[in-house]
């Protein structure tokens, strides 16, 4: 299938976020299709936000409803005619036939139950997908500036989540979100900004500071819009986000001010900041280089937002529920991202990704739990993230490390230890998914998740075996080494 056909396919699918794995691989590898899909998702994401004048008629309609005489409201139940009985009899006969046919269809000629009709799948978590993408950007960032960009994008994602949580009056979720946001700004952005090479980045830092200021203004407005008194914890959380953003912006400006004299001429760092992640300016298709309004935000990426993520289609209550469900993963992502941002060495990055209680392990636990709960959609969604972490994070860094690590060195031992640990984490997940795949109702999703885990694991094994031969998969070996 060529790019044009794939782009037409993207327009025709129910949810362009979820793609079959073969198409997903193409889209992931092809900058043009990737940008096309990103643009489509971007457009669809903004349609629910299109302004509509507020309606004031609800109360009026409710009042009217209560006043309408009953005689006008129940025409179908009154005045049964002889025809009504005939239709009822016909309907009854048809129902019996349908039930018999339905039972036959359900049980099949051999009397064994067929797979039940698939239930509507819950949409995947866009915030989670986006955070995984930032995390992946950090895992393979080429320099300190790229790391800072990824952290700024992560902060922006978290800041945007405050709106649905406020709308859903989720004080607990807001508190956790505020903590995450504060950590990303203070321990991530500000700390990394201090390490940028002096004299090269004032406009770049000011660009990030501007974004933080906008987030602060937005949070201030949100806090002001809250009703008084009863919602103090929520207000405190939103205000803490505003304060973190404002303080971060102030510190970045101070750092930029120190370095302003050495601003290199003619570079528009802000424009660079606004590019979609995952695509360098050189890699973008010609169309997206020319303009940039639509493709200009770092909201979403096609890479991890792969087969099982969602555009924003949920109402705030559902989004808040989703945030609570994935809160543990989000915390793990924030912790891991802050640590990754401090590491330039590929081996150290791979180690961060695979450490105990880190993102990979947490993700593995969540997938296992989804398998136990027979939650196929969730297992498949998280499976895609798992594959991305192993492939784009662990395997990619191990491959980079293998080019510089000397044979027989401690670096080589570390590589083997990290690889063995990654494989060991995969084992129970695959087993659990295999068990869950026996259930016909969720088999497809479980198999998809299993495939994703296997793909990620294979990538890690490949990264190691090219130079070091097959790795030892015994968990006790991992601990000894």
């Amino acid at each position: 299938m060529n790019c044009k056909a794939i782009q037409r396919y993207l327009l025709s699918v129910e949810d362009p976020v979820r793609l079959p794995s073969d198409l997903h691989e193409h889209v992931e590898a092809c900058p043009e299709c990737s940008a096309w899909r990103w643009r489509l998702l971007h457009i669809e994401r903004h349609i629910p936000g299109l302004p509509v004048p507020p309606s004031t008629a609800l109360a009026r309609v409710q009042r009217r409803l209560l006043r309408v005489p009953a005689t006008q409201l129940a025409p179908r139940t009154a005045g049964a005619s002889p025809w009504r009985w005939r239709w009822t009899a016909i309907g009854l006969a048809a129902s019996i036939l349908l039930i018999v046919w339905g039972l036959w269809a359900w049980l099949g000629p051999n009397g064994s139950a067929r797979a039940p009709i698939a239930q509507k799948k819950p949409p995947a978590d866009l915030l989670l997908a986006s955070l995984f993408q930032r995390h992946l950007d950090l895992a393979r960032a080429a320099d300190a500036r790229q790391r800072l960009e990824a952290l700024a994008a992560m902060a922006h994602d978290l800041s945007a989540e405050s709106h649905p949580l406020v709308a859903a009056a989720d004080a607990e979720g807001l508190e956790k979100l505020g903590d995450c946001y504060g950590r990303v700004v203070r321990e991530g952005i500000v700390e990394r900004a201090r390490t940028l090479p002096a004299g090269q980045t004032p406009a770049f830092l000011k660009g990030i500071a501007d974004r933080l200021d906008r987030s602060a203004t937005d949070a201030d407005r949100l806090a002001r819009a809250l009703p008084p008194a009863a919602l103090d914890p929520m207000r405190a959380s939103v205000e803490s986000m505003a304060e973190a953003a404002r303080d971060g912006g102030r510190q970045l400006r101070a750092l930029a001010g120190d370095k302003a004299a050495a601003l290199p001429p003619g570079r528009n760092f802000k424009t660079r900041l606004d590019e979609p992640p995952g695509l360098s300016r050189r890699d973008q298709p010609a169309g997206s280089r020319r303009g940039g309004v639509l493709l200009s935000s770092a909201q979403l990426s096609p890479v991890v937002a792969a087969p099982d993520t969602r555009p924003v289609l949920l109402n705030p209550v559902e989004q808040a529920r989703q945030f609570q469900q994935n809160c543990g993963l989000i915390l793990a992502l924030v912790n891991s991202s802050i640590r990754l941002a401090a590491e330039a060495d590929p081996l150290a990055r791979a180690d961060v990704l695979i450490q105990r209680n880190g993102v990979t392990e947490r993700l593995a636990q969540e997938i296992q739990q989804a398998a136990v709960n027979r939650d196929g959609a969730r297992a498949a969604e998280l499976g895609q993230h798992y594959r991305s972490v192993l492939r784009g994070g662990v395997a990619a860094n191990l491959t980079s490390a293998s080019r510089i690590v000397q044979p027989g060195s401690t670096g080589e031992q570390d590589m083997r230890r990290i690889g063995a640990r990654a494989v060991a984490v995969c084992e129970p997940v695959q087993q659990q998914l295999q068990l869950a795949a026996e259930d016909l109702a969720t088999r497809d999703d479980m198999q998809r998740a299993w495939q994703a885990v296997r793909d990620g694991r294979s990538e890690v094994e490949r990264a190691l075996s090219t130079r070091h031969g097959p790795i030892d998969r015994r968990p006790d070996k991992i601990r000894r080494s």
């Binding site: 327009l11 025709s12 129910e14 096309w36 643009r39 489509l40 971007h42 457009i43 669809e44 994401r45 903004h46 349609i47 629910p48 936000g49 299109l50 302004p51 509509v52 004048p53 507020p54 309606s55 008629a57 609800l58 009026r60 309609v61 409710q62 009217r64 409803l65 209560l66 309408v68 009953a70 409201l73 129940a74 025409p75 179908r76 509507k120 949409p123 922006h156 800041s159 945007a160 709106h163 974004r211 906008r214 987030s215 203004t217 937005d218 407005r221 169309g287 997206s288 280089r289 020319r290 303009g291 940039g292 309004v293 639509l294 493709l295 935000s297 555009p311 289609l313 949920l314 209550v317």
Partner: protein, 191 residues
């Protein structure tokens, strides 16, 4: 506390409300109206481009829904059923020459830039709003149901009284047109 004062999520099951409304409990139906009002109104606004028309159609749809609640089959999709009534009402009004084809508002309602608007500039949002507004009604109705309400093609077909394939086609065409209008090379243009 009456049932209509409870948020619908506290009831946990809209079937309870529907069941009670079917037995004539207006308060229960009032809670359903409250739950679906904004969503239905937003969709109808996209169809009519006029606040008052959208409110009128929504009101009529709810009254018709309450009157015909006995015909609603418990266990089926209430939202699709309600939206279908609203769509039929909208079509009837349009046939009757009601105000449905008004120009899209030149000025979007004011509001400060939120995070999403940071992601897409106000100009781009305005361009998108115009592009959505200029889509043929059938395409727009299907696209908004898909994107904003998250309905499947089958559910969209149910609402718009058509086939699943036609619903898919309409969403496809709507997306195609939006992608053409919102192409990066046109970002520099302003309406």
């Amino acid at each position: 506390l009456s049932i209509s004062e409870l948020p619908i999520r506290a009831i946990t099951d809209e079937h309870i409300l529907i069941h009670r409304a079917q037995k004539g409990d207006r308060q229960a139906f009032s809670a359903l109206v409250e739950h679906y009002w904004d969503r239905l109104y937003r969709w109808l606004y996209h169809l009519t481009h006029n606040r008052h028309s959208a409110e009128d159609v929504a009101q009529e749809a709810f009254l018709k829904a309450f009157a015909g609640l006995a015909s609603f089959r418990t266990g089926t999709n209430f939202q699709a059923w309600l939206f279908r009534i609203a769509y039929n009402t909208f079509i009837n009004q349009r046939r009757a020459g009601a105000r449905t084809r008004m120009a899209f508002p030149e000025q979007l309602p004011a509001g400060g830039p939120g995070p999403d608007e940071q992601a897409m500039s106000r100009e781009a949002l305005q361009l998108l709003a115009r592009a959505v507004g200029r889509l043929p009604n059938d395409f727009r109705a299907a696209l908004v149901l898909r994107v904003e309400e998250g309905l499947s093609f089958r559910e969209i077909a149910e609402v718009l009284n058509t086939t699943e394939e036609t619903a898919r086609w309409r969403v496809f065409k709507a997306r195609q047109k939006l992608m053409a209008v919102m192409a990066p090379e046109r970002d520099g243009e302003r309406p």
